[in-house]
């Protein structure tokens, strides 16, 4: 069950935890854009990815996520890696930089590197998202989400309702996970084996989990709707907040740092800058 907990909020007191959720989301979006820049050569692509990785690693450490948890959540990525590699090998290339031959079929370096590039980007993306989810309370996240969508309210977009749905969904993830483990245990004591057995037995085992889960979730949602109505919940009403998010100077600096980071990446990308050529006069692919 621990794999579900990958993106869970963990209460530490780091500067990333204390950061304003809006600033944090915005900064992390900046970082994500930076990760997705394209560069003049392979060497530059991976150098910049390495640079981004160092920065993200520092953020991971600072938010107490740790490399271990990142690696754990990446454990299923090998399937993706093989899939990407196969796709890129089958796609034709313009370059003739051959890595090796399988029979008479040429495997190009470009396919391998392209697959590696996508994989590295994915890993960086996951790491960035983990920093966000591990250091931000779900409620703060939905508040920030609503704040970002606020301009859309002018054209009648139900920003508050959407934020409410999101916060309820987030709020109930741990509850439903608790349900899952409770039902799994109850069925396990009736002899269900969720881990072993052939595919048909596993499917049957899943049915014995999913049906009760649906039933209890429906019951719960109905109860929640009733409880909200009893307290006079009105999505259109103007409401006050218990906690008011304050945007501090530190948040501004942190956002500016990320913006500067993105600017550097954009500069390198747009000018086709190649540090190997410019600084050491090397010619690399």
């Amino acid at each position: 069950m621990n794999s579900f907990v990958m993106g869970r909020y963990v209460p530490y007191d780091s500067f990333i935890h204390r950061m304003d959720a809006r600033a944090k989301i915005f900064s992390l979006i900046l970082l994500m854009v930076a990760v997705f820049m394209g560069y003049s050569s392979w060497a530059m692509t991976f150098t910049m990815a390495g640079l981004a990785f160092i920065v993200i690693l520092v953020l991971l450490m600072a938010s107490h996520v740790g490399l271990g948890r990142l690696l754990k959540s990446l454990s299923s990525l090998w399937f993706m890696a093989i899939f990407l590699l196969v796709i890129y090998i089958l796609v034709p290339h313009t370059s003739n930089w051959v890595a090796f031959y399988i029979g008479s079929y040429a495997i190009y370096w470009d396919s391998i590197l392209e697959a590696a590039k996508i994989l590295v980007r994915l890993i960086l993306m996951i790491a960035i998202t983990m920093v966000l989810t591990a250091s931000t309370k779900p409620l703060d996240m939905t508040d920030a989400f609503e704040w970002f969508l606020a301009p859309l309210k002018w054209i009648g977009f139900p920003a508050h309702e959407l934020a409410m749905i999101l916060s309820i969904a987030l709020r109930f993830i741990p509850t439903i996970l608790e349900d899952v483990s409770r039902i799994m245990k109850a069925q396990a004591s009736r002899g269900v084996d969720f881990e072993h057995g052939h595919i048909l037995a596993k499917a049957k085992a899943m049915v014995s989990l999913i049906v009760p889960l649906f039933v209890s979730s429906f019951v719960r949602s109905e109860e929640l709707a009733d409880a909200m109505e009893c307290r006079g919940y009105d999505p259109k009403a103007k409401r006050t907040k218990y906690r008011i998010e304050k945007f501090h100077i530190a948040d501004l600096f942190e956002t500016l740092f990320c913006a500067g980071f993105l600017a550097l990446f954009i500069y390198v990308s747009v000018t086709n800058f190649n540090c190997y050529e410019a600084w050491w006069g090397l010619s690399v692919k």
Binding site: P11, I183, K185, A186, S189, S208, V215
Partner: protein
């Protein structure tokens, strides 16, 4: 079927800020064939303890021996035959009605037996027997469990465990949310199963049930065994420290004695024997 805990500790969410020790170095021998009550305040580790008996969780430290099955923190020592254990130890969770999922009542009750390797006919026969035991007749067999009332659903869920004919039956708060008649019926059912020689372990907050049914009481406090005793001895003590409540019967006797009625406590088991004792008491 004896159950023996040796230095068992259990820690939830190890190595995270949520780390929490539910059991701390528990040593416990549960006698065979007894009606055992497991009591203690919320969060004292009762649920964790019973899940260790059924090998639903593995101890962080120490081992639990259930007959020849060993549930140990040491992987090499741990027994493999989990299905055999599940057949011997039946666990009825709190609000068991939430585990129903089949289209018909009889299929749901037979589900456990089929998982443990019984043939379809055998499982169905056991299911019908179990349904008769809990007081549901043949008209229920083909009905959907989801259209039953709450009390009937719980009976079906309990039948699902009884059908596996366990040697140890663990029940967690079986009367929670039931009306008085239904809770009396449920408890009578467990008592009759106990009379057939099954070890019953009852987890409860209701001291009236403990005084009425239990032979042995295990008191858990903050993850440790605070006491293993009989209901009579337990209720003489000050129960406030465990956040337990003295049952109505014992409170009545105490007040009567305080008013000067000389009652023979040993003979008092229920309301009828109390009335008898009052009649025969000397002022």
């Amino acid at each position: 079927m004896s159950v023996k805990f040796t230095n068992v500790s259990y820690i939830y969410n190890r190595k995270s800020p949520f780390e929490y020790a539910a059991l701390k170095d528990v040593n416990l021998d549960l006698p065979e064939g007894k009606f055992i009550a497991l009591v203690g305040r919320t969060g004292s580790g009762k649920s964790t303890l019973i899940q260790n008996i059924n090998a639903l969780i593995v101890p962080t430290e120490g081992k639990v021996e259930i007959d020849d099955f060993v549930n140990s923190s040491n992987k090499k020592e741990r027994s493999k035959d989990i299905k055999g254990l599940r057949r011997k130890v039946g666990l009825v969770f709190q609000f068991p009605e939430y585990q129903l999922f089949e289209e018909t009542v009889e299929k749901d009750v037979a589900f456990g037996c089929k998982n443990l390797g019984d043939s379809k006919e055998e499982a169905m026969k056991k299911a019908h027997d179990a349904l008769t035991k809990v007081g549901l007749d043949a008209s229920f067999y083909e009905r959907s469990p989801f259209e039953l009332s709450g009390g009937e659903k719980r009976k079906v869920a309990i039948a699902g465990i009884l059908a596996m004919s366990p040697k140890i039956l663990i029940i967690d708060e079986p009367t929670a949310g039931l009306d008085p008649v239904a809770s009396f019926e449920t408890m009578s059912l467990f008592e009759s199963i106990h009379k057939e020689g099954v070890t019953v372990i009852l987890v409860t907050h209701d001291m009236n049930l403990v005084s009425a049914y239990a032979e042995v009481v295990v008191v858990l406090d903050n993850g440790k065994i605070a006491d293993v005793t009989t209901p009579e001895k337990l209720f003489e003590e000050d129960l406030e420290k465990y956040s337990l409540e003295t049952p109505l019967l014992y409170r009545t006797v105490k007040h009567l004695r305080a008013k000067g009625l000389n009652l023979d406590e040993k003979s008092i088991k229920d309301v009828a024997t109390l009335a008898k004792a009052i009649k025969g008491a000397k002022r």
